[in-house]
Symmetry: C2
Amino acid sequence: MSGSTSPLAPKSFAVLPPIEGARMATAAAGIKYKGRTDLMMMVFDRPATVAGVFTRSKCPSAPVDFCRESLKGGVARALVVNSGNANAFTGKKGVQATAMTAEAAARAAGCATSDVFLASTGVIGEPLDAGKFSGLLAGLVQDASEDRWRAAGEAIMTTDTYPKLATRTASIDGVAVTINGIAKGAGMIAPDMATMLSFVVTDAPIAARALQAMLAEAVEPSFNSVTVDSDTSTSDTLLVFATCAAEHRGAGAVSDAGDERAASFKAALTDLLLDLARQVARDGEGARKAVVVEVEGAVDDRSAKRIALAIANSPLVKTAVAGEDANWGRVVMAVGKAGEPAERDRLAIWFGDVRVAFGGERDPDYSEAAASAVMQKDEIVVRVDLGLGDGRWTVYGCDLTKEYVAINGDYRS
Amino acid sequence: MSGSTSPLAPKSFAVLPPIEGARMATAAAGIKYKGRTDLMMMVFDRPATVAGVFTRSKCPSAPVDFCRESLKGGVARALVVNSGNANAFTGKKGVQATAMTAEAAARAAGCATSDVFLASTGVIGEPLDAGKFSGLLAGLVQDASEDRWRAAGEAIMTTDTYPKLATRTASIDGVAVTINGIAKGAGMIAPDMATMLSFVVTDAPIAARALQAMLAEAVEPSFNSVTVDSDTSTSDTLLVFATCAAEHRGAGAVSDAGDERAASFKAALTDLLLDLARQVARDGEGARKAVVVEVEGAVDDRSAKRIALAIANSPLVKTAVAGEDANWGRVVMAVGKAGEPAERDRLAIWFGDVRVAFGGERDPDYSEAAASAVMQKDEIVVRVDLGLGDGRWTVYGCDLTKEYVAINGDYRS
């Protein structure tokens, strides 16, 4: 948890309503931080269905390995998350720590260890002493209630300067269902401190397989389209739990992701994930400006996404944004290096509404003053039209500031 | 040209001997900079053979397009390089500027425009006023001499804090041949300022096709293995010219890259390019520490190179080096995100001679004090053994400092 709140923090936080069947509690276990909560447990008294996506890292953390196993059952009864230690690259000790935590959680919640899900975020390579908190889990289950979403969002923070919270409603068979989500993450990775974690809960009655298919689709334009520093955590974890409690209120069970009755739910889930993902990007380490890169006219969507990521990840584009410099030459450079089809002389580039380049050269009508005015905003939209096809994608990032270097490089100074 | 010289600059500069058949001169044309040279012309009074490699950008500069055409002839009589303006993304005006420069150079040198080679480095998107220097070229040809290598290296600098110079000798048929090279580049790209350019000249008698094949091989472990910020210029250009003057001293012509008689030349060329490439990396914008990433035990060399680049380009690894933090967890992260075969539990990582991680966890014998001592050096060697195969590669980079952000983001402050 960093000292000062990001200037890009939301003006007010979403208030998340209770979701029937999902209780939670937090504690200060003293894993690394002092004077704050660092442990969060969520309990589903009736089995919830569950879906998940994880880091693509070839060196995943022990909890990621553990969750991948639990996910095969498609059922969740408990989630335990700690901040302060990632339990990553911790060898056999790491596996022992996940086993010990899962056993304690299963005992406390009265379920099988395979119904437990785990996530850890914080320092990498340090053995996680699960003994520090495994004794607390029974108490947390006792204490857990449905109205602790903000506290849950705060307990999982590391270098985040604010908790990420979002809620949406949707309709299944005319019955209102709710989706709540929390997230953390300040670099896409900063193993000493950060990682991306997000936990989403709904009362909608969705079978595990359908939920997994919906999540796989919804994650593409949201969490898979944000970037802070192009680095990928060993621990990135996104889990969606469905308590199915709305079934008692008349919402029929959804067993297929293509079911038209779930269209509203899918749209709301995607929107919620995008909201959380953008909150993560806006809290990027050291970020002072949010960047939205909109690419259109690419040969296909995949190509548009790669070009958008090349722009959003370019250190030179990011430092130009930090310096409020409408340096469109660097956008040309980033398009050129993406390795995707592009034709210099068909390219058009805008900062906000100001077209700065067109037809292979500087826009003759381009006003430096107007572009500079755009760059002074706290969210900069960079739009690129490749003029080749219908492919389009939007990526969300942030600038690269001296504070990023300080946060990640100044430990010893 | 930046204010203060990099702490990683060489203690003394190589003194490049004359190479028969290659004359050069410089001038202050006032393209952008004041009080310094910004124009360099090299003349080959007898036709030289030539080979070249260029940026892979899909949005290359006008001079890159021009050189690609000239290269088809395989013959060079003149090279004109300016700093201060990249003539990139300048549309038809850019093509007109290259044509005007080439015509003036061809008139001055008494050759065809197709025997002229051009390079420009500096601001992107600004039309280049070739009229500022085309009138100077005849005088430069008159004035040119064989002993101006240092001046040539200085005239092509942009944000470089020192000129990059290297020389090697080799032997063909028992006759000594010389290779001289100059380079510039401080970011792999910084379109307002930098780009990577390198010009190499030898008196060895090598046919154009053979020279091209040798260059393609030599560039892989050298210029294609350095990175400052992962960004790729619209203008990167590396040209090798062979005046063939050593033929008169008894070195037989080499027409095939596989010719055993050229083995010494090939080795010297590779070594010279690596020397220049490392000088470029050590002058990375804002760099205070050089980073050498050695990857071994990968499934193949290509895989090793991708992993090494993922480590060397990671903002979190680079900021850790800047902060003298032996943060091997970030190296694990970078290995994991490279998308190449890797097994967490076979990974070993060293900083210098200190093994910090082994067998999927922190090395139990690892001394924090010893690792910290390594991190205080001005060149940090990060070694990774994947334990999977025989693939190996070495990549050269630098740290990421607040000065990098300042150089690239502080124009308007």
